[in-house]
């Protein structure tokens, strides 16, 4: 999947288009990285390889972006969360399938590829 000359960000997005949630891991240290980079932050190892993410994680922090309600009174509020993957890396995302106020820190969640702002992205569902 990794085309010659393509950077890690484009590679990540290309995997997502194929329906695969891949993250980077340093071969020598075993440390995972997100967001995708050209080297391990802090120590600079360049031996990053793409591995499938387990997709399992825990809600680390959460908020509800409050919006004006729709004319019919229904809510436009949405969740924004930081999820810590079991691999130890964190990402901003949202938890779907429950009202945004019901997303709780410590809750176990599982990744799903969905359209996010017009492009494939990672969202999470409660497990």
């Amino acid at each position: 999947m990794t085309e010659a000359g393509q950077g890690p960000e484009a590679t990540f997005r290309a995997f997502l288009k194929e329906g695969r949630f891949m993250i980077q891991r340093s071969a020598s240290t075993g440390r995972h990285v997100f967001y995708p980079r050209v080297a391990l932050p802090g120590t600079g190892e360049r031996d990053l390889e793409w591995v499938p993410a387990s997709g399992l994680g825990t809600v680390y922090a959460t908020t509800v972006a409050r919006q004006r309600p729709n004319p019919d009174g229904s809510s436009n509020d949405y969740n924004i969360a930081i999820v810590e993957l079991d691999e130890g890396v964190r990402m901003m995302s949202r938890v779907e399938g429950v009202p945004p106020t019901e997303v709780k820190i410590g809750q176990r969640v599982k990744a799903r590829i969905a359209e996010v702002d017009g492009a494939p992205g990672i969202v999470f569902d409660p497990v």
């Binding site: 967001y35 908020t63 972006a65 409050r66 924004i80 930081i82 901003m92 106020t101």
Partner: protein, 383 residues
């Protein structure tokens, strides 16, 4: 051991312009007026200024714009922009440049008309590509996430967050220049509109207009100017992340690094600090900085601020101008921390004057809890 920079330079002039609402005036006009006010306050002339330190939310090259607008040909400039903490960084950078002889009179300046220009926080910050698709409202979302984590981890309550806003308002009620005045209770804060859980609109800073500036010189010259010098004792900055989702721990900011380094640099211990000016963009900020700077243990700030403990007559004077929450917050507030610290150290704070105020700590915050810069200022007696 204190750093060699201790007491070598001083803030000799301060000025503001159009704080609150300034309809019909542009950002650079407010910056220009504040600068001239600060220069006049010092008893200096515009043409004395040969160092410019500036950051704004609207100028990509702020030192170019400022020098052109004021008609200056500076010998030294620094346009470091790390958000609201820029001006505490400029304080340190100006002290270094003055001490090294790269300039003789340093102007640190800022201006914004964001309230009358649009009524929303204006930011030049680029969207963070790994966050923007989820439609965060930055910086609000980031601080709400940090507050959620602090509450989860330490049992901090919305009432304790509200105490911060209530204390800020109580100070503002003693400051005739504060924008938001009038009674405010914990119940009022809790009952106000939730905008990003757990933060209500009253947990968030004001959106105002305003310009601010200060002038620094070396100590030898400072002694012979119009106002009592306020000496730069020390300063330090630290930064650990840019985007909130990459912050190592949402409950521990880099203030835990900048604060101790700045105090060591200044040769001052925390118990010497009579006034803490902590960048309060949101109520959670004050709690985090009280902890990270060492005024209370990690996780304890919610309890620390209960019962008006950081308001007038409390155990620690914090944000005596009313803070970003109730005094002024024109996009980037960091320079106003310095204005209030200097006012207090001059003994010129009127009804809100802190008794025997000889050492003040100013702590700037920029981005989404990203940039942290601490400065320590003192009166002549402390040098």
């Amino acid at each position: 051991m204190a750093h060699a920079l201790r007491g070598k330079t001083a803030v000799v002039g301060i000025g503001t312009a159009g704080t609150g609402e300034a309809p019909g005036r542009s950002a650079i006009e407010l910056l220009g007026e504040a600068s001239l006010n600060a220069i006049a306050d010092a008893g200096l002339k515009l043409s004395d200024v040969d160092g410019i330190f500036a950051a704004t939310s609207t100028h990509a090259f702020p030192t170019l714009s400022v020098a052109e607008y004021l008609g200056l040909r500076p010998r030294f400039v620094d346009g470091t922009n790390i958000g609201g903490a820029s001006f505490e960084a400029h304080l340190l950078h100006a002290a270094l440049a003055l001490d090294a002889g790269f300039c003789d009179v340093a102007l640190i300046c800022y201006g914004s008309n964001q309230r009358t220009a649009g009524g929303r926080l204006v930011s030049m910050s680029e969207p963070q590509v790994w966050e923007a698709p989820f439609k965060p409202r930055m910086p609000l979302t980031a601080y709400a996430l940090a507050a959620s984590r602090h509450m989860h981890q330490f049992g901090t309550t919305r009432e304790q967050l509200a105490e911060v806003a209530v204390a800020a308002r109580a100070w503002a009620n003693l400051n005739p220049e504060a924008f938001a005045r009038g009674p405010l209770s914990v119940a009022d804060v809790l009952a106000s509109r939730m905008i990003s859980d757990p933060l209500t609109v009253l947990d968030c800073c004001l959106v105002t207009d305003g310009g601010a500036a200060c002038v620094m010189t070396r100590a030898d010259r400072a002694k012979h100017l119009a106002k009592p010098p306020v000496y730069f004792l020390g300063g330090a900055g630290a930064q650990w992340h840019r985007a909130i989702s990459t912050m190592p721990d949402l409950t521990i900011t880099a203030a835990s690094e900048s604060g101790p380094r700045a105090l060591t640099h200044a040769g001052v211990s925390l118990s010497d600090v009579k006034l803490a000016m902590l960048y309060d963009a949101f109520t959670i900020c004050t709690l985090l900085f009280l902890e990270d700077l060492g005024f209370c243990p990690k996780g304890e700030a919610g309890r620390f601020v209960e019962g008006g403990a950081i308001g007038p007559g409390g155990r620690l004077a914090v944000n005596t101008n009313g803070g970003g929450l109730s005094c002024v917050h024109p996009g980037m507030y960091g320079l106003f921390l310095i204005i209030e610290a200097v006012t207090q150290l001059r003994g010129a704070a009127g009804e809100r004057q802190v008794k025997d105020c000889d050492i003040a700590l100013v702590h700037g915050n920029g981005g989404t809890l990203s940039a942290q810069v601490t400065g320590v200022l003192g009166t002549a007696a402390t040098v």
